[in-house]
């Protein structure tokens, strides 16, 4: 049950048709795993913590560098050199003491993925490479977990919901495993882009937890900030 303090904190969210006390209770009981505490992972963690998602796991083994700060908005100059998940834990606990944060200094791997993902309701994509996305996808399919996808490069980003109620998966978008010949960690990225994409991912997360309307399952939303264009295309489940 929500405490009086929680009811006061979430008052403006409780007013929303489709959320209310029942939806807020669902958020409190929900658990999400954020894979990666970078450009996508930071706003995902902030907004879902603020929304009152009860348990948030964050896995990342990287340390904060100064070149992260234009887009990884959990961190400050004082965090440079620290493990990202340590800095994230402090910041998020300060934002919302009513939820549980589980920081993990590690990388998602073949060895730990099934065990970790099994502990959460949904998996949120904050990672920066194709191999981890295939791993998230395959484990989510195996364990019947929802995968909230997001990716960014330069001025362009994508958002979708995979493996939701029999909908398409990441392998329907990219059937063949790819090792892109353009290194994404060396590509530029507009700082606002991962913020926007992560907020769309966070919105889909809240919608699914609260059973709100249609999700982006079966649809890929593509954002091109350079020309201010939002496009959607339909994605059909191809195979398991």
């Amino acid at each position: 049950m929500l405490t009086e303090l929680e009811k006061a904190r979430y008052a403006r969210q409780l007013q929303l048709d489709g959320i209310g006390l029942a939806g807020q209770q669902k958020l409190k009981e929900a658990s999400v795993l954020i894979v990666g505490a970078g450009g996508l992972g930071c706003p995902l963690a902030l907004y879902l913590a603020a929304a009152g998602v009860g348990k948030i796991g964050i896995i990342d083994n990287d340390r904060v560098s100064e070149s992260n700060l234009h887009r990884q908005i959990l961190y400050t100059m004082e965090d440079v050199g620290r493990y990202k998940v340590d800095a994230a834990l402090e910041r998020i606990q300060t934002l919302n003491p009513h939820i549980s944060i589980e920081p993990m200094i590690d990388r998602l791997s073949e060895e730990n993925a099934a065990r970790l993902i099994a502990e959460y309701d949904l998996v949120l994509d904050g990672c920066d490479n194709f191999a981890t996305r295939y791993l998230i996808n395959d484990v989510c399919v195996k364990l019947n977990k929802v995968y909230i996808y997001g990716s960014v490069a330069e001025f362009t980003g994508q958002v979708s919901v995979f493996n939701h109620q029999g909908g398409p998966t990441y392998r329907c978008l990219y059937p063949e495993e790819t090792s892109c010949n353009r290194q994404h960690d060396s590509l530029g990225v507009l700082g606002m882009l991962p913020g926007l994409i992560a907020m769309l991912q966070a919105t889909e997360t809240v919608k699914i937890i609260c059973d709100l309307d249609d999700s982006l399952s079966g649809v890929v939303l593509v954002v091109d900030l350079r020309i201010g264009r939002f496009d959607k295309f339909t994605l059909v489940r191809q195979r398991d």
């Binding site: 990666g36 970078g38 450009g39 996508l40 992972g41 994509d125 904050g126 990672c127 920066d128 490479n129 194709f130 996305r133 997001g150 990716s151 960014v152 490069a153 330069e154 001025f155 362009t156 980003g157 994508q158 329907c172 978008l173 990219y174 059937p175 790819t178 892109c180 010949n181 353009r182 994404h184 960690d185 590509l187 990225v189 991962p194 890929v220 593509v222 091109d224 350079r226 020309i227 496009d231 959607k232 295309f233 339909t234 994605l235 059909v236």
Partner: protein
Amino acid sequence: MQVTVKLFASFRNDRFSKQDFEFEEGTTIEQVLNFFQIPLGEVGVTMINGRHRQMHDTLSENDVIGIFPLIGGG
């Protein structure tokens, strides 16, 4: 047949954003990519009329084809 080609993100650089072209009946997506000298290894998603399609799928009169690069950062 006339086909509208929409290029996204970095594929627009030194090319175009949206333009109509004439192609022969039965032209595949892969042939369109080759025509515009878009490296297949950099292609992430191709769609026809708003639906995700594969390289071997063929185009029809008045189709709109969209071509996206791989996007994998975070």
